[in-house]
C-alpha cells in the first residue's frame, strides 16, 4: 500500500465526516444550541487535578478549580449556566467532535495539530514548559543534553511535540503524578510539563530540581468546527472577563497569577490570528508506519515474555494444588484467587508505582512481570483442569508398572493433560496478546497506545484503528494456526 492511497482514503473519510456533521449543524448552530439549552456544557477531566478542575474533597460531587470558575464566568457572560461533563483528558477532542459537550476547557494547549482540527478561542492562560530532573543528576542542563534520552510528558501535548522535534525519546503518561514518580525512580531522565503541573506535582518532591523553562504556550477553549458563532461569543466574553480584572483575580485565588498573565488582559485579535495561523495537516506518513511496526514488536515482546513466565509459574501452581502438601496447595489457591479476582490494571499499578520504593523495575520488565504473574493464575487452572481430565486409571497403570509418582506424572499424565489444556492455553495467549494493551498505563507504548497517539495526530481513528487491528490479527492468526496444527498432530491416539 502506498502513502498517497492512504492519504486519498483518509481524505475521503474526512470529506464524508464533514458532510455528515454539516448536515446536522445546518439545523442548529452552536450559540443558538447553548442558549436554547440554557447551559454551556464544558468537558474536562477531574483526574487532571489541581488547579484546573477537580472534585471538591469536602463536598463530593461539587467541582472546584480555576477552570471551574472561568467556566462559570463565561456562562454568566452568555446568560446561561455552566455544566461540567467528565471526560478522559486524552479523548477530550474526539468527544468534543462527537458532540458530548459544547466546549472543551481543561488546560488544552494550542498546538498546530489541534489548530488544524478544531476551533480555538483566544487564549486565556500563558504557561511555561518546565523541565525537571533528579537533584543528583547534573548531566541534565537543558533540552540539548537530553537528546536520545527518555523524557516523560503527556501524549499529544505541546511538550510532546517539542520533545519529538528535538530528537528526544518522549515517554507518554496519562496522569500528572506518575511521570514524577518515575523520574524519582530513575525510569526517565527528565519530565517536561506545563509549569502549573510541575509546581504542584513535581517541585514539591525533594529528589527533584527545576532545570528551567524551555518554552511557552497558551491554553485556549476548544470549540467544535462549525460553531464559529459560539467561538466568537466566547472570544468576546473572555476579553470582557480579562479586561475587567476578573480573570487575574481567579488566577490569584489559585496562586497561578504572575506578571506574564497581564498579556492575557492586553491580548488583541491580531495576536489570536497569529497564534492560530500555524496549522498542521494530518498525515499518516512512513514515520508513523515504522512506529506502528515498532509498537507491534513491543506488544509481541511483552506478550511472549509474559507467557514465558506464566507457563512455568502456572505449572508450579497447578502442581502445588494437585500434589503439594496441604499448606502449599492452600497458598497456591490463594495466589490464583488473588490474581484472578482483582483487575490486572490494578496489579500493574501496584507493581509499577505502588512498589516503586522497594522494587525498581523499568516499565517493560514491570509489564512482562505484571502480565506474567496475572496470567499464571489462569494457566494454573487450565493445567489443573487438564490433569484432572486424565482418567485416574492412567496413573494407576503407570504406578503398577513400578513407575514412581513423579515419573508417572512426567511420562504419562502430563503429556495427556497437555493435549487437553492446549486449546485453552492458546486461547489465553491470544487474550494476553490483546490484554498487553493495558501496559500503556505504565508508560509502555505498545500497539494500542501507538494507535491512539497516531489517531489524535492524524485526526482519524478509522485508519489507525484498522491498521492496529490488522497488526493484532497478523500476530494472533499464525498462533491459532500453529495451535490447530499441533492439536491435529496430538489428535491421534
Amino acid at each position: 500500500m502506498n502513502v498517497s492511497a492512504v492519504r486519498r482514503g483518509a481524505g475521503a473519510l474526512f470529506v464524508l465526516s464533514v458532510l455528515m456533521t454539516s448536515c446536522v449543524q445546518r439545523q442548529e448552530v452552536g450559540l443558538e444550541r447553548v442558549r436554547r439549552a440554557g447551559e454551556l456544557r464544558w468537558g474536562a477531566d477531574a483526574q487532571g487535578g489541581e488547579p484546573y478542575a477537580m472534585e471538591d474533597p469536602e463536598v463530593p460531587g461539587r467541582m472546584r478549580g480555576f477552570e471551574v470558575e472561568l467556566a462559570d464566568a463565561l456562562a454568566r457572560e452568555l446568560g446561561v449556566r455552566a455544566r461540567f461533563i467528565q471526560n478522559d483528558w486524552s479523548s477530550l477532542i474526539p468527544s468534543l467532535e462527537r458532540g458530548s459537550f459544547d466546549v472543551a476547557l481543561n488546560g488544552i494547549e494550542i498546538t498546530p495539530a489541534r489548530s488544524g482540527r478544531i476551533l480555538f478561542t483566544r487564549p486565556y492562560f500563558i504557561f511555561q514548559l518546565r523541565l525537571l530532573a533528579r537533584r543528583d543528576d547534573d548531566t541534565v542542563t537543558g533540552l540539548a543534553s537530553l537528546r536520545g534520552r527518555r523524557v516523560g510528558t503527556l501524549a499529544n501535548s505541546q511538550a510532546w511535540d517539542l520533545l519529538q522535534r528535538e530528537g528526544i525519546q518522549a515517554v507518554p503518561y496519562e496522569g500528572v503524578e506518575e511521570p514524577y514518580i518515575d523520574l524519582e525512580q530513575g525510569r526517565v531522565d527528565a519530565v517536561l510539563m506545563d509549569d502549573l503541573i510541575a509546581q504542584r506535582y513535581g517541585q514539591p518532591r525533594a529528589g527533584l530540581r527545576v532545570v528551567g523553562d524551555v518554552g511557552e504556550g497558551y491554553y485556549a477553549i476548544a470549540v467544535r468546527p462549525g460553531d464559529e458563532d459560539l467561538r466568537a461569543a466566547l472570544d468576546v466574553a473572555l476579553g470582557h472577563i480579562a479586561r475587567s480584572g476578573e480573570l487575574r483575580r481567579i488566577f490569584a485565588r489559585w496562586n497561578i497569577d504572575s506578571a506574564a498573565q497581564q498579556r492575557m488582559v492586553e491580548w488583541s485579535d491580531a495576536q489570536t490570528r497569529e497564534v492560530l495561523a500555524q496549522t498542521q495537516a494530518p498525515r499518516l506518513g512512513w514515520a508513523q508506519w515504522v512506529m506502528f511496526l515498532q509498537a507491534s514488536l513491543v506488544t509481541l515482546v511483552v506478550s511472549v515474555g509474559a507467557m514465558a513466565l506464566a507457563v512455568p509459574l502456572g505449572m508450579g501452581l497447578a502442581l502445588a494444588r494437585l500434589y503439594g502438601p496441604r499448606w502449599l496447595g492452600r497458598l497456591a489457591s490463594l495466589y490464583v484467587e488473588l490474581f484472578r479476582g482483582t483487575p490486572v490494571l490494578l496489579q500493574l499499578y501496584v507493581l509499577y508505582y505502588g512498589l516503586a520504593g522497594v522494587l525498581r523495575l523499568d516499565a517493560l520488565s514491570a509489564a512482562v512481570l505484571g502480565l506474567g504473574l496475572n496470567y499464571a493464575a489462569y494457566e494454573a487452572e487450565v493445567y489443573r483442569a487438564g490433569v484432572l481430565a486424565v482418567p485416574r486409571g492412567q496413573l494407576e497403570a503407570a504406578l503398577a508398572l513400578g513407575m514412581s509418582t513423579p515419573l508417572a506424572l512426567r511420562r504419562v499424565i502430563f503429556p495427556q493433560a497437555f493435549r487437553v489444556a492446549l486449546p485453552s492455553a492458546t486461547n489465553d495467549f491470544i487474550a494476553l496478546l490483546k490484554d498487553s494493551s493495558l501496559v500503556s498505563v505504565i508508560s509502555v507504548v505498545e500497539l494500542t497506545k501507538r494507535m491512539t497517539i497516531t489517531a489524535v495526530d492524524v485526526r482519524s481513528w478509522l485508519l489507525p484503528g484498522a491498521l492496529c487491528a490488522a497488526l493484532y490479527l497478523a500476530m494472533s492468526y499464525p498462533l491459532s494456526l500453529l495451535a490447530r496444527r499441533l492439536e491435529a498432530r496430538l489428535e491421534r491416539g
Partner: protein, 273 residues
C-alpha cells in the same frame, strides 16, 4: 513365590480383608472368586501395592510389603510392582502412546533399557501376544481384545514373576475369551504365576489350577476348580455358585464341542502344547 500372611484391611469402618493368608507358587494359576464385596479385587490390588492395608504382610521373593500408607513404603512398593504385573479390567493403556509405545515405556524408563533394546523387547512381546501387525496403532484404534493383549505385553515387559488380572473376561466378546485362555496358558508354561479375579466360572475351570472362594474378606474354601465347582464344601459357596449361574444364565450342562466358547477353544490350545 507370593506369600500373603494375615492380611487385614478396614475401609470406612468396614472390614474388607479379614486375615487372609495364601501362597501363590511359580507356574500356578489361581482364580479368585466370590460375590461382590467379598474382597477379591481388593486383595488383588494389595498384591501389587495399589491398595494399602492395615495389618499382615505380603512377601514376593525377598521383598516384603508392610502395612501403612503408600508414601511411606515407596521403595518396597516399587520393587514389588516390578516383580508383579497388573492387567486392569479396563486395561488403562496409555492413550497418548502407540501399542509399541505402551509396551516399551516401562522397560525404557523404569528398567533403564536403551531405546533400541526396549524396542526389540517390545516387538518380541507384541509378537508373543499376536499383535505385531498393530504396533503403530493407538489404543483408540484397537479393539477391546487387542487392548487387553497390549496391556498383557506391557506388564510382561517388566519381566515379572507374577501377573495379576482383574476380571480379564468381563469386557471381552465371548469368542475372544478362548484366545485369552490360550495366551494365558502359554504364559503359565513359561513359569509365570497367574492370579485372576473372575466371575466367569468356565474361564476359572479351564485355566486355573486352584480356586480361592472369598466371602466377607475371608477365604471360604479353596481347591482345584473341578472340586470347588462340583462338590463345594461350604453352603455359602453353593449359594454363590448357584447365584452366578442364575445371573449369567449359564446352561447347567457344558456347551457342545465345536461351538465358540471357552471349552471349545481350550482343548485345541492344550492339544498344541
Amino acid at each position: 513365590m507370593i506369600e500373603v500372611k494375615d492380611l487385614c484391611k478396614r475401609y470406612d469402618g468396614r472390614t474388607v480383608l479379614d486375615g487372609i493368608s495364601a501362597c501363590f507358587a511359580p507356574g500356578e494359576v489361581v482364580a479368585l472368586v466370590g460375590p461382590s464385596g467379598s474382597g477379591k479385587s481388593t486383595l488383588l490390588r494389595c498384591l501389587n501395592g495399589l491398595e494399602p492395608f492395615d495389618a499382615g504382610s505380603i512377601r514376593v521373593g525377598d521383598d516384603v510389603l508392610a502395612p501403612g500408607v503408600q508414601r511411606a513404603r515407596g521403595a518396597q512398593v516399587s520393587n514389588i510392582r516390578r516383580r508383579v504385573g497388573f492387567v486392569f479390567q479396563q486395561w488403562h493403556l496409555f492413550a497418548h502412546r502407540t501399542a509399541l509405545g505402551n509396551v516399551i515405556e516401562a522397560p525404557r524408563y523404569v528398567r533403564g533399557l536403551d531405546a533400541k533394546a526396549a524396542t526389540e523387547l517390545g516387538r518380541a512381546l507384541l509378537e508373543k501376544v499376536g499383535l505385531s501387525h498393530r504396533e503403530g496403532a493407538y489404543p483408540s484404534e484397537l479393539s477391546g481384545g487387542e487392548q487387553q493383549r497390549v496391556a498383557i505385553a506391557r506388564a510382561l515387559a517388566m519381566e515379572p514373576e507374577a501377573l495379576l488380572l482383574d476380571e480379564p473376561t468381563s469386557a471381552l466378546d465371548p469368542e475372544r475369551v478362548g484366545e485369552l485362555v490360550e495366551l494365558l496358558s502359554r504364559l503359565r508354561e513359561d513359569g509365570l504365576t497367574l492370579v485372576a479375579v473372575t466371575h466367569e466360572m468356565r474361564f476359572a475351570r479351564e485355566l486355573a489350577s486352584r480356586m480361592l472362594v472369598l466371602h466377607g474378606g475371608r477365604i471360604l474354601e479353596e481347591g482345584p476348580p473341578a472340586q470347588v465347582l462340583e462338590r463345594p464344601r461350604h453352603e455359602r459357596t453353593r449359594a454363590f455358585l448357584g447365584l452366578e449361574r442364575a445371573v449369567r444364565q449359564e446352561p447347567a450342562v457344558e456347551p457342545e464341542p465345536g461351538r465358540t466358547g471357552v471349552s471349545a477353544v481350550f482343548p485345541a490350545a492344550t492339544a498344541r502344547e
